[in-house]
């Protein structure tokens, strides 16, 4: 292997795949990044066995070959080369050593043979479906955060991904909230459901850009992995394992009726909830929404704790009965800051029934938050 590559391109490639490097690797080679010449360029790959990321970087290849190098070391060396426009020469020497030269900068690094690196499924197969990068990116940002972070119920650390014709539904839930959205796909697919780890989707969201170009979704024939393939100048492939098991039937927990509806500006409500969240009891984090009722023209947000108390009034259009409901401040803050909408419809049915948040423009997105029971 012998090649010449721009520092800027190599550094960017290493930062993309670096997200998949194992921090505490079961296999030593998983702390390494795989380098392989391909298509007149250099392909970088890293994996922690849950996800694998491959990123292609243009390079002038004099001699094909492959090797793995410790990811931290290699990234550190590349990052310390001062000029972005500097060229870097990489050459594989005997005994898995790599010689790096850039101007007056010269390093030898000890690597490990490429055949020690696990096989990552390639993106060569026919896509199951394709989705606009921009559309998928927004959907992931609005859904993934609702997944459970703890392993108590592994299935809930994943995001249900259901393909039905030319629609893709994404749903994530922990025990106390659920976020669901449906987006159009660019190619019809057979009806199928998979559960993708939320962590993998968080990485995919980082990789996707705000363009209409498609990302290919490929369900491996073994149905235990899913591949996302982004083409174009930033050629990147993300492979994720899937989570086994049955995602809870969320349809039956979605409220069908409400007695109060508030239409409220998202940012204004968020501006009211933030200071209230600061004044909640650390252990309970309870923020109350007093919606409608006598003498109010909107929503009053309150919190009280040992630290003090807070009250903010927010204009809202209220239909139905006045009510008061208590939520965990984090859950409330997250739905308000992650969903791209100007106004929310908030549907309530009393203090002990779930709160339902939907974009007022009627887009297919639903977020349900369970309330906290309070003494008063």
């Amino acid at each position: 292997m012998k090649l010449t590559i721009l520092q800027e391109n190599l550094a960017h490639g290493l930062s993309v795949v670096g997200r998949a490097v194992s921090s505490k690797a079961a296999l030593p080679v998983l702390s390494n990044v795989l380098l392989r010449t391909k298509d007149a360029g250099l392909e970088l790959t890293a994996t922690n066995l849950e996800i694998g990321i491959t990123h292609w970087v243009p390079a002038k290849v004099d001699e094909d070959g492959s090797i793995t190098l410790p990811a931290d070391l290699f990234s550190g060396i590349v990052a310390s080369i001062p000029m972005k426009s500097a060229t870097i020469e990489l050459e594989l020497l005997p005994d898995d050593r790599v010689h790096l030269v850039s101007g007056r900068f010269e390093t030898h690094m000890k690597g490990m043979a490429a055949d020690e690196f696990p096989q990552i499924p390639s993106a060569g197969e026919r896509p199951t479906t394709r989705v606009s990068q921009k559309v998928l990116r927004q959907a992931l940002g609005e859904v993934t955060f609702a997944a459970a972070s703890e392993e108590a119920r592994p299935i809930l650390t994943g995001v249900l991904t259901r393909l039905e014709g030319d629609r893709m539904t994404l749903a994530a839930a922990d025990n106390y909230r659920i976020a669901i959205t449906t987006i159009p796909t660019l190619a019809p697919a057979e009806d199928t459901s998979i559960v993708v780890p939320a962590r993998s989707y968080a990485e995919l969201e980082r990789i996707l850009t705000d363009v209409d170009d498609p990302v290919d979704v490929i369900l491996a024939p073994s149905r235990n992995q899913v591949v996302f393939h982004v083409d174009g100048p930033d050629r990147t492939v993300l492979v994720s394992r899937l989570i086994d098991g049955q995602f809870p039937n969320y349809q039956q927990v979605l409220p069908k009726e409400h007695t109060t509806r508030a239409v409220v500006d998202r940012e204004e409500l968020l501006r009211a909830v933030r200071p209230a969240a600061l004044l909640t009891q650390k252990t309970t984090k309870i923020v109350k929404l007093h919606v409608g009722g006598e003498g109010t023209a909107g929503i009053s947000v309150t919190a009280v704790s040992d630290l003090g108390d807070h009250q903010s009034e927010v204009d809202a259009t209220i239909e139905g009965d006045g009510t008061t409901i208590a939520f965990n401040a984090d859950y409330l803050t997250q739905v308000l800051q992650n969903v791209a909408t100007t106004e929310f419809d908030i549907d309530l049915a009393g203090p002990l029934s779930p709160g339902v948040f939907r974009p007022h423009d009627g887009r297919e997105y639903t977020h349900v938050v369970m309330p906290v029971r309070t003494a008063s």
Partner: protein
């Protein structure tokens, strides 16, 4: 934990109604509206508590000099409490029993029945908590209350004091003396002034005048040494002390001197400390014989978890964290804790967490003691989306709990714990503090499986 409303009958027929002297200017409603701190602090002190309980329960002792403490006049112990009849002979608390025997040869000497007095104390404290949650229990027979905010319900502080005295007398047959003032210092001195069955109200602004004629030894922080030193400065009464230049006292006593002057003016900034909310619920057990049998250890943890969960449900709270305590045959003790996936009052998740924590600590050891404690009891009651399953288990447990309450705790026993020769008796860990102070009466205690460890009403915390 209180809940029963206070008696609604008009106060005024109970003891202590006879006199409620106001010190200083005649009080009246105007006094309590005086600027500055309102007089909302009460000190309630049971009169000759241990002796009074014995005289109540044994009518033949009434009117007789009763001396509670130890075995008798030949005992090497000291007097815990002397009845007022015995006090006439000069018998005082903390006096050697032999001295008491000499002073009062006809005295009736009784042993201390701690369990009985604790139960009575609990009843009285429960009465006090009906009037405000701000109750600071100082010892078995006295407590401070801050009734600010309770006036709308129960009347002005003086009336609350009367109601408290009446309720204690009606419900326990005991008498209490109460002091009412703007600070704990004033309330305490007030309650002591007209014992037994006294009521002293010191209106705001009258503190210094109230204290002035009293001997300095009444003040907190004035022991025999300080009293002697003050006498050298010509100070006999609190009034004498109050007019001394503060510098003189500071030179003589340092910072303590400055505090003394403040107190002499009736200033005491220490608020009534509410006990912290209950912080943990724990059960533990010591084996008859140290064991390394995993089956016995696991069953024991399950039994302990069951007991903890039962009490959590009884109190209507959920725990966010589990703590286990493992002591091996060499008396090495480790505690380990872990958060629960979600707050619970069910035995299974507590047991699973406890087992996961305890297992590595028990491996290859002979175990002497195991304990399971649930903490973070202020976990919010966050409703769940998919908790139909848990709701079902919950209803099952609640049904079982109801049967246990009605027919006894052996009515329903977890199959795994059935007739499995659980190590018995489950003794309290001898090195743990004797903190048996109940929230409820002892009747629902799951005896003899475990002994409960309840947080001390004063401290509010446990050593876990």
């Amino acid at each position: 934990m209180s809940g029963t409303p206070p008696p609604t009958r008009r106060p005024g027929r109970g003891p202590g109604d006879a006199r409620a002297p106001r010190i200083g200017t005649p009080g009246g409603p105007g006094a309590s509206r005086a600027p500055g701190t309102p007089a909302t602090i009460l000190h309630v002190d049971l009169d000759a508590f241990f002796a009074a309980v014995e005289q109540r329960d044994r009518p033949e002792l009434r009117g007789k000099p009763v001396i509670v403490g130890g075995g008798g006049p030949d005992d090497r112990g000291v007097v815990s409490t002397a009845s007022y009849e015995a006090r006439k002979f000069g018998v005082r608390s903390a006096m050697p029993l032999r001295t008491a025997g000499r002073l009062c040869p006809d005295g009736i000497f009784l042993p201390v029945d701690g369990t009985k007095y604790q139960a009575e104390s609990r009843r009285v404290m429960t009465i006090l908590r009906r009037f405000t949650s701000r109750v600071e229990q100082v010892s078995i027979d006295e407590a401070f209350l801050d009734v600010a905010g309770s006036e709308a319900l129960f009347g002005p502080p003086e009336q609350i004091a009367r109601r408290i005295k009446a309720a204690i007398h009606d419900e326990t047959g005991l008498t209490a003396s109460v002091g009412v003032g703007t600070s704990k210092l004033i309330a305490k001195i007030g309650s002591d002034l007209r014992k037994p069955d006294g009521l002293v109200v010191v209106p705001p602004g009258e503190e210094a005048a109230f204290l002035a004629p009293l001997p300095v030894s009444r003040l907190w922080g004035v022991g025999p040494a300080t009293a002697t030193a003050l006498a050298e400065l010509g100070v006999a009464t609190i009034g004498d002390l109050a007019v001394l230049p503060p510098d003189a006292l500071t030179r003589r006593f340092g910072k303590h001197g400055a505090d003394l002057v403040e107190r002499a003016h009736g200033i005491d900034r220490d608020p009534v400390h509410e006990p912290d909310a209950m912080k943990s619920v724990g059960h533990e057990t010591t084996f008859d014989h140290d064991t390394s049998d995993p089956e016995v250890l696991e069953r024991t943890l399950l039994g302990l978890s069951d007991g903890v969960a039962w009490r959590l449900r009884g109190m209507g709270i959920r725990a966010g964290t589990v703590v286990v305590k493992v002591r091996d045959s060499g008396f090495r003790t480790v505690t380990r804790q872990a958060p629960l996936p979600e707050p619970t009052d069910l035995a299974e998740p507590i047991y699973q967490a406890a087992l996961a924590l305890a297992r590595p600590e028990m491996r290859g050891k002979r175990i002497r003691l195991l304990g399971v404690t649930a903490t973070h009891l202020d976990a919010p009651d966050q409703l769940g989306l998919f908790s139909a399953d848990e709701d079902r288990r919950h209803r099952a447990m609640e049904a079982a709990d109801a049967l246990k309450r009605k027919f006894g705790d052996r009515t329903i026993v977890r199959a795994r714990l059935l007739d499995k020769g659980l190590p018995a008796p489950f003794e309290r860990d001898p090195s743990s503090p004797l903190a048996r102070r109940g929230v409820d009466e002892a009747s629902d205690e799951p005896e003899p499986v475990t002994r409960e460890r309840e947080p001390d009403a004063d401290a509010g915390t446990e050593d876990v």
